[in-house]
Symmetry: C2
Subunit: 493 residues, 2 copies
Amino acid sequence: MLEDIDFKRTVDPEEYRALIDALEIKVAELHRRTKDAGIPVIIVFEGWDASGKATMINRLLLAMDPRIFTVHPITAPTAEESARPWLWRFWTKTPSRGRIAIFDKSWYYRVMEERVDHLVDEERWMRAYGHINSFERNLVDDGNVLIKFFLHVTEEVQEKRLRKLRRRTTSAWRLIQQEWKHHKHYDDYLEAIEDMLEKTDTRPCTWHIVPSHDERTANVRIFETVIESLEKGISSSDAPVAGSRAAPTRGKKNGKPQQVLPRVDLSLTMDEEEYDRRLKACQEKLVELSNDVKLAQIPVSIMYSGWDAAGKGGNIKRLVQRLDPRSYKVIPIIVPTDEELAHHHLWRFWRELPPAGRIAIFDRSWYGRVLVERIEGYCREDEWRRAYHEINEMEQQWTDDGMVLIKFFLHIDKETQLERFRERENIPHKRWKITEDDWRNREKWGLYEEAIEDMLRFTDTKYAPWTIIESNSKMFSRIRTLEKITGDIERAL
Amino acid sequence: MLEDIDFKRTVDPEEYRALIDALEIKVAELHRRTKDAGIPVIIVFEGWDASGKATMINRLLLAMDPRIFTVHPITAPTAEESARPWLWRFWTKTPSRGRIAIFDKSWYYRVMEERVDHLVDEERWMRAYGHINSFERNLVDDGNVLIKFFLHVTEEVQEKRLRKLRRRTTSAWRLIQQEWKHHKHYDDYLEAIEDMLEKTDTRPCTWHIVPSHDERTANVRIFETVIESLEKGISSSDAPVAGSRAAPTRGKKNGKPQQVLPRVDLSLTMDEEEYDRRLKACQEKLVELSNDVKLAQIPVSIMYSGWDAAGKGGNIKRLVQRLDPRSYKVIPIIVPTDEELAHHHLWRFWRELPPAGRIAIFDRSWYGRVLVERIEGYCREDEWRRAYHEINEMEQQWTDDGMVLIKFFLHIDKETQLERFRERENIPHKRWKITEDDWRNREKWGLYEEAIEDMLRFTDTKYAPWTIIESNSKMFSRIRTLEKITGDIERAL
């Protein structure tokens, strides 16, 4: 995509002053309107070293209100970042509604610097393209305006600029050592960049290639593109929502799809003696495994979903009972905060992810979107329909990075739930466990059944399959989950 | 404090079961009541290696709801943590109202591991005691219940336990290498621990020393202490607020204290030619200095406060105009989120602090507490009175760690403000800058004057002095701030 770039168009220096002033006022007005409209905006600056990225970002920032934007300079990942799925550091930096995030380098770091400098193996950077496209589509689908710039200069211009920089001061010289190294590999970079531009120039996440031999011309081009994109974002945020491209729809050719829950054998049970023996064995094994997981720095996430009173809490208690508190983290998913609500629905799960080596235990999960939020109308239909695909992609990104991801659905029947609700009401120190919400949810059993069947069908993937746990018997349920966990971790080690 | 510990008291194994069950139910009830009452709770576990910390924390956790607590295992600081004032990693982990934070090791890491293993020099760990006491007092004054445990075992018991651990498995052996190393320095640790217990056993942040030779006995002791502390916390949260010990009061012996603002010479001005010349020189120097600051990893924070329309925004614009966006971060202080409101008022400033080497620019600041929050009644009087001292301590902790901290107050007179407000109303692309709030604040000019005088008097410290900027002339104001910044950074380098 770079060979067609026209370096000839230039802006007349005389006209520049008036032009850029007018553009600046326009940007200032528009970015306030995106704030008022609650539109999150992401502006990505990629480009060659010495293409003038810093200067141009700064020029753009001067038109904007610091209370609205945040700049994220991206360099090599820190140890904390490397201990998570690689997109973690970008997910956690996505802007909340009405804010602007400006990335000085970005997630393309992986397919440029990390690829060319051989910091990750080929398999990983190749796979990154799919992750990137999915990440960007997630954001755009969620209403983000995403603007991607690539600042282009030729090899000759790059060399000239680096020489000039080197002459300036001693400190500058020390700061551009890496840039010189990269310059010597201009051709390798060229290959990587061409590849990247081609593979990630998707609709609506297109690249804007900015010829950057002349600063003024580049500035005007950037301002114009930002103005155009913000205007488009503002006008389409008023438009009615179109159907999502990834929305699965119910009903297949051959009539009603097969139901999963009715086929679960809820009569399965276990006697106490066997329970005690197998519980002890599992818990002892888990202590060992949690050490091994730590030493091997393997990421493990265990997720519990299920009916109210299906025994999630009791299950988790047995899981962690003998573990060192430093080896796990329980992440209860409760009502989102206003900060969480102002982001993509998956943001808070990315954010909570502990580093590799520490077992993450989710008490409820990202499936709330397609269960309670669907049923209670906390999100629009196109949003929860799109979520199946978004969730699958997130789980794939996690497991691609070597995560052991275990998803449990604890199934009980309606009678068992009633018994347990009554028991909770009758035992004083268990009474806090039962609220009016639980009774209200129970009335919607049928709706939940339908939503659960959809969830199990659309998100039961090769890389992150569901495990349905027969949970009418608490003892049976606990042993099943624990043995599944020890088995999966052992296989991964 | 350790020599008096009585290892003889033990709990009868027969009675233990019933006793711990009753205690567990009590803890379960109380920790839910702290949640409902919005009380933040911090439980610190310190102790010898192999004193059974992990087991005892886990035993306590089993009585609690994972939706209420978070466990923070503390080890050596990461690179990101080391690039901030040392308490940063603990401030950012303080619980929000109604939540419980459990620290498995804590801020005492500095005066134990880091001291004994010579990871920080003596001056730094000595100074840490003052920081720790101030940190804890801040939290308790803000309504936190703070419970500190030290689990004590003798040298013989420690050795026996480590030997047993080593025999267990190969992986365990690798995990306890450091513990063996520490064991060899039992006496050095003993000295450090005695010192620590003595220097940080303050009212109301006392230590609870738990003899831990017998697990059951220790568990009972921990549960009883937690119960007692939570009960006390709940009952005192209902009590009326007493006057704060650190509250400064107005009026000194010799009548009215001297006013600062009337003595500021607002007639100072600068002609445009001189402005252009000095602006250019400053901005060029700043580019150099920002490189040096990065290379030397010096933390720099620049804070702007001042009247509405005093020129904070324009000042900041000139400061960053030529800087590389990677070298600074503008932190606009706006209305706090619900997550921020649920923490100590200084929490969000700690949280926003960029790493050393990246210049932090605060647009408004932590002084909102003693200005707008005081005047609008967003906090109680004892809270804003206490804040002067809390702010001083925070600033001291930051500068103790080598930070260059520059605090500007931009002063203008009432007439100048009026002119600027009118100008904003009359120029279309400046109109967003003026809101009804600005006019309302203007009506309270006298109250603000009083609050500002108090602020300047109570927080003008040796380590973090105020610089009042004569800002009736925008050009004069900008050059004054820029030259102050370059001067201070040069001195620090």
